[in-house]
């Protein structure tokens, strides 16, 4: 460590996990240099410990472990890319990543199938266009999630793109924050429909206003301690109002509190959510103000709903002159060729900008009215359509057992085929958000879905089959609540018909304008459970 002073968590080493003791002696970010030096010697040049620290460079070993293939995550701050950056990413995927490009639920881009030999060249190519995989994984501040429409959004109170940039500059490769107790996720959005998914981030800023010295000022409210995985928590709001010029100061303070007070004894209890659960928002606010000085008290919350991060379709931008076109990437995946073509399309029809969303989709902004028709007629937009059918348009999936070492089942192709089946068999005018995960770690954010599906592997006398647990009624926004689990496991090939039956109940008993999660909460889990148990008994018998 450059800092010779003892770090607060060093004073009692009995409270440190084995990995924390290793982290005391090893600067996480130094792995970037180590990779650059030894990559050409191949996989065997790296120790097991090195491979664990690869995460600090944004690189993970993919399945099967031990065979030298890696996943890389690239930070896309706020989800905003230039066409040049998009082309560079597409070329990396084509040259090293078997043409696969994934958009993640935090607006990042992921590659698969990379070898150690390819990493230095990829780092260089990314740096040349101002992109980084560094700190996209590991116990560090991850990519900053933002409003993918910032600057052009008719529903934003403030353009947060400059703030995303400031936060990115403050946290990226900053040695002060290269050793946090655990991963650390930040989001900021000025959109009134909670496009940043505030409640599931460690630190989030949502739009707010307050009259200060007789003048209404737009700023933010601050949420701390949210996160999903096996033990999900919704973030809690602190009692402060933050002006845009104070955002970095507040983020710095919250992150230092986590760094110095967060738990380091057990990795599965180290996220900021556990400290918040113990301290509560009042104590957290008090500690923050002690550290960074005073701030105005809370103002008026300006969040007015939750759009779940969906922007598909053709929409007018702020000012009504230009349009943005939101495209659907089925379960967040596309080919390198398609990604490169999106870069060409935005150059031809828009302003050379591509944006990624946390619903794993893409936006092409700044399209003039007169170019809309030709853009919509492009062959690529017939596949990555702005007008998806109901279920495919709202289906999210984690990586699953194709690449993930911890997955119990396959998810991406399965989610797509279930959604396609539902589109062919169920008439529904209201979107229902389906999320599928391959294990309880919840990378596919199952807990916030209308209907969440968690995979397991069942062995009976007649063989082994994939099966899914059902969860109903999750959402974020003003009525944020995680979904509830239903008892009874459904074999993979019966999942689509069982969802169809659940939707029949919804169609029959919903109130006007009622969304699925609202319906599930109103009628209650016992009512849905009763119906669900009957349905699975009948589909199992059929």
């Amino acid at each position: 460590m450059a800092d010779q002073q003892q770090r607060p968590w060093e004073s009692d080493k009995s409270k440190l996990s084995a990995f924390e003791l290793t982290k005391l002696d090893r600067e996480g970010l130094s792995i970037i240099e180590t990779i650059r030096e030894r990559a050409s010697q191949g996989y065997s040049a790296f120790s097991e410990e090195d491979l664990v620290f690869f995460k600090w460079a944004g690189v993970y070993e993919q399945k099967p472990k031990g065979e030298g293939h890696f996943m890389m995550r690239v930070r896309i701050p706020g989800g905003i890319l230039t066409s040049e950056q998009t082309r560079a990413l597409a070329a990396i995927s084509r040259d090293y990543g078997r043409n696969v490009v994934d958009v993640t639920t935090r607006q990042a881009i992921q590659f698969h199938w990379l070898t150690t030999q390819s990493l230095p060249d990829i780092f260089d190519r990314l740096e040349q266009v101002g992109l980084f995989s560094y700190q996209a994984c590991g116990d560090v501040p991850r990519t900053i999630v933002g409003n993918p429409l910032s600057g052009i959004d008719p529903h934003e109170l403030i353009d947060t793109a400059p703030l995303v940039e400031q936060l990115e500059k403050h946290f990226l490769l900053n040695p002060e924050f290269d050793n946090l107790p655990r991963k650390y996720k930040i989001s900021i959005s000025g959109n009134i429909y909670n496009t940043g998914h505030a409640e599931i981030n460690d630190l989030a800023f949502t739009p707010a206003s307050k009259v200060i010295d007789g003048e209404e000022r737009i700023g933010f409210h601050v949420w701390v301690g949210g996160g999903l995985s096996a033990k999900p928590y919704l973030a809690k709001q602190l009692g402060i109002f933050v002006l845009p010029e104070d955002v970095v100061r507040v983020a710095d303070g919250v992150t230092k509190i986590f760094r110095d007070n967060g738990y380091r004894q057990k990795r599965h209890q180290a996220r900021l959510k556990f400290l918040m659960a113990d301290w509560g928002p009042e104590k957290f606010t008090e500690k923050l103000l002690e550290l960074i000085g005073s701030l105005p008290e809370q103002g008026k919350d300006r969040t007015d709903g939750w759009n779940a991060g969906y922007f598909t379709g053709v929409h007018k931008q702020k000012g009504d002159e230009l349009n943005y076109v939101g495209l659907l990437l089925p379960v967040g995946r596309l080919t390198a060729e398609d990604f490169a073509e999106l870069a060409d399309l935005t150059d031809r029809y828009g302003s050379g900008s591509v944006r990624t969303t946390n619903s794993q989709n893409i936006i092409l902004p700044n399209i003039p009215d007169e170019k809309l028709e030709s853009l919509l007629a492009e062959p690529l937009l017939q596949r990555l359509t702005p007008f998806p059918r109901t279920f495919v348009g709202y289906a999210v999936s984690c990586t699953g057992n194709e690449y993930c070492n911890l997955a119990i089942v396959e998810t991406k192709a399965r989610m797509l085929s279930i959604a396609t089946w539902l589109d062919e068999h169920v008439e529904l005018d209201t979107p229902v958000r389906l999320h599928m995960i391959g294990c309880p770690n919840s990378c596919g954010q199952q807990q916030i879905a209308d209907i969440g599906l968690q995979g397991s592997l069942v062995k009976t006398e007649s063989g082994t089959v994939d099966a899914f647990d059902f969860f109903v009624g999750g959402s974020l926004g003003p009525d944020a609540q995680f979904n509830s689990r239903l008892k009874g496991r459904v074999k993979a090939d019966r999942v689509a018909p069982v969802i169809a039956q659940l939707l029949e109940l919804y169609k029959k008993e919903r109130l006007a304008e009622e969304k699925f999660h609202q319906f599930a909460r109103r009628v209650g889990t016992p009512r849905i459970q009763e119906y669900f148990s009957d349905v699975i008994a009948s589909v199992s018998a059929s």
Binding site: S17, A18, K266, R267, N405, L406, I408, C439, P440, S456, L457, V458, K459, T460, T464, A467, R489
Partner: protein, 69 residues
């Protein structure tokens, strides 16, 4: 090597949880069923076993289950 969480149900309607170390899903099923039969239901058959989760086998990894009140 992984630490598996496996749920097991038997023909006498017992629901059990087994935690086993194994290097594949097949092995995890086998070990969990052997353990369950040996410990709980020697005369009963296993109706269904389900792998719920697996974690890398490392110091400090484990599962926590709530006991019945």
């Amino acid at each position: 090597m992984f630490l598996y969480h496996v749920e097991i149900s038997t023909t006498d309607e017992k629901n059990l949880v087994a935690v086993v170390i194994a290097d594949s899903d097949d092995a995890a099923f086998k070990y969990a069923q052997t353990l369950a039969k040996r410990q709980f239901s020697p005369s009963q058959e296993i109706k269904e076993s389900t792998i719920i989760e697996k974690k890398y086998l490392e110091k400090g990894r484990g599962y926590v289950f709530q006991t019945l009140e």
